[in-house]
């Protein structure tokens, strides 16, 4: 089994490497002179020359790639063309702020999703099941910003003006110093992914509850609670872990829109700013960062899958 995990780890590393290649190759798409493309037509020749030097444009492509990759590996993400400062400084606090959003939404949606999914799977075909299914179907259809705007209308401006609709904390102060400003962003992200986790959990649980071994456990006279905890749940965890991972990765994308909507000082907001100002190295750094988060989350889900698979576990005990 440990060999399987090591293999999976190597695959992740290979994918991560290909991702760096892709992110780098994307910069080659910049039309014409990259420096001019970034700085625009009004840029002075001096600034263009400086940027060309900074981007190492005259060096061969592979050398530029290796330099950049070397920087990334040693934790130096480059220099922002917009601020002229290191990308690391720019992202430092923002990573923490975004992680707060992500982790809060992930924990909340996983807990709610698993509970609701299990609960409805046990009440298949009844009114509670139909209601939850219907609501999650509707919410699942909505893009992040639609949910966000709806929440702002409902809880922040027109109907019940209870919560701030934008982040108020001054720069430099941690976002969690005013917890009320976290509520709407976290709630939006939670609403975005909970329906998926609920539906998947319901489907997986339904399948497991219909399985031969669960029927057999009931025919053996095992109490229902034991049937659920011992015979059903362990088999649902593996497949659901994959879906949760997928949804968390989705959060990493959704966070961009939500941060923009709530003017939240996180990585997503920085990405939008960087795209607008064509701040290439910042865009590279952030897309790479998000892809890395995604790869790690998926890796963890697969390891959970490997650990919960009885066939693989048995190999260890043998």
């Amino acid at each position: 089994m440990s060999r399987l995990i090591v293999r999976r780890l190597l695959v992740s590393l290979a994918v991560l490497w290909l991702v760096t290649l892709l992110v780098f190759v994307a910069t080659l798409l910049l039309p014409g002179d990259p420096a001019r493309a970034i700085l625009g037509q009004q840029a002075t020749p001096e600034r263009i020359a400086a940027l060309r030097a900074q981007l190492d444009i005259d060096a061969p492509v592979w050398e530029r790639y290796l330099n950049w990759l070397g920087g990334v590996v040693t934790g130096d993400l480059g220099t922002s063309t917009a601020t002229q400062g290191p990308v690391n400084d720019l992202l430092g606090d923002r990573i923490g702020a975004s992680l707060v959003l992500l982790v809060a939404a992930a924990v909340l949606s996983t807990l709610v999703g698993l509970a609701l999914g299990t609960w409805t799977a046990m009440r298949r075909g009844r009114a509670a099941d139909h209601t939850v299914s219907g609501i999650s179907l509707v919410i699942a259809a909505l893009p992040e910003f639609v949910i966000g705007v709806a929440l702002i209308v409902l809880l922040s401006t027109t109907v019940f003006p209870l919560l701030p609709s934008v982040t108020l904390a001054p720069p430099g102060e941690p976002v969690w110093s005013q917890p009320s400003q976290l509520v709407l962003p976290v709630l939006t992200l939670t609403l975005v992914v909970t329906p998926y986790i609920t539906r998947m959990m319901r489907a997986t649980m339904s399948e497991v509850l219909d399985s031969g071994y669960v029927e057999m456990a009931r025919l053996k006279g095992i109490p229902e609670k034991t049937v659920l905890l011992r015979h059903a749940l362990p088999h649902a965890i593996g497949p659901v872990a994959q879906v949760i991972a997928l949804q968390l990765a989705w959060l990493a994308g959704g966070v961009v829109v939500v941060e923009f909507l709530f003017r939240y000082p996180g990585v997503g907001q920085a990405l939008i700013d960087a795209v607008n100002s064509r701040d290439v190295e910042v865009v590279q750094a952030i897309t790479l960062l998000i892809a890395a988060v995604y790869i790690v989350v998926n890796l963890l889900a697969d390891i959970v899958g490997i650990l919960t698979s009885p066939k693989l576990r048995a190999e260890v005990t043998r």
């Binding site: 290909l18 910049l30 259809a141 909505l142 639609v146 401006t157 959704g254 923009f260």
Partner: protein, 282 residues
């Protein structure tokens, strides 16, 4: 049972499919006819000055540049819809082709295609789109292409799985027995038997495409001003949400109704397809 029970027909018999189709049809009609209806109904065009900024003139007031919100709302769905449909088509066709080829052929081709997929799948779709837009600028063809491309690996996964599930069926083996060429096996034996999951993918991808195009416009990186577009309008008008809410509410409502509609249809397709599979295995 009827003579030819297709997934589509069975899905349509479900009440939620009817609701979904109605919702979708209403918004699609609005989006398609809106650009013509708008000037005729309101007497304004989408970019012309209609009155002072953020006033309650006309049906839904004016926006920050004094343009008529209702005219812009009527005109704001067509491009979104067109881009979403094109992106979906690219994604589903490309993904289906790659997935079927990988699933049916197996071996090295399968590994190459699926590893390539994994790399693309490592980016949330929106982030990948942002990467491309950062380099090439917000252009229509790029939005369509990049959203389509990011759909492809996701569709390919489903198509591959469905293909693998049928490829060991004896009817495929029978076709091999008559030395049927691979392309014909894929088109005539495999494809008709995986339409269920593929139609579900089609619906799902359309729902997401609408969401992505609208989101990118909302971020200011999709359809560009001064065009009238729902996503863009929400961004333009949200500062005045309290005083002039219609500029935000109308487009939000339209996008919500549209995506909920397509998702309801998709879900009924999914349950019809699942029901069909059960019948076959039973």
């Amino acid at each position: 049972m009827s003579t030819r029970s297709t997934v589509f027909r069975r899905a349509l018999s479900l009440p939620q499919a009817k609701i979904g189709l109605t919702l979708t049809a209403v918004v699609v009609l609005l989006a398609v006819l809106g650009p013509w209806l708008g000037p005729w109904l309101t007497g304004h065009d989408t970019t012309g000055f209609a009155g002072k900024p953020f006033q309650s003139d006309g049906v839904a007031g004016t926006d920050g540049l004094g343009r008529d919100v209702f005219t812009r709302f009527l005109a704001g769905g067509a491009t979104l819809l067109l881009y979403a449909v094109l992106a979906t088509a690219i994604g589903v066709v490309l993904g289906t082709a790659l997935g079927m080829l990988a699933g049916y052929t197996g071996g090295r081709l399968d590994s190459v295609i699926m590893r390539g997929n994994d790399v693309l799948l490592s980016f949330p779709q929106l982030v990948f789109a942002l990467l491309a837009i950062a380099m090439l600028g917000p252009q229509g063809w790029l939005l369509v292409l990049v959203i389509g491309i990011t759909h492809a690996p996701r569709v390919a996964r489903v198509a591959r799985q469905a293909t693998v599930a049928v490829k060991d069926s004896d009817y495929i083996r029978a076709a091999q027995l008559y030395a049927m060429p691979r392309r014909r096996i894929l088109l005539r034996e495999v494809l008709p038997n995986i339409t269920g999951p593929l139609m579900v993918e089609l619906g799902l991808r359309l729902t997401y495409s609408i969401g992505y195009v609208a989101s990118l416009s909302f971020l200011g990186l999709g359809i560009q001003p001064p065009s009238a577009d729902w996503g863009l309008m929400i961004n333009e008008n949200r500062i005045a949400l309290v005083v002039e809410p219609w500029g935000v509410l109308l487009p939000v409502l339209a996008i919500a109704v549209l995506t909920v509609g397509t998702n309801l249809v998709t879900d009924s397709l999914a349950s019809a397809a699942a029901g069909r599979e059960k019948e076959v295995t039973a």
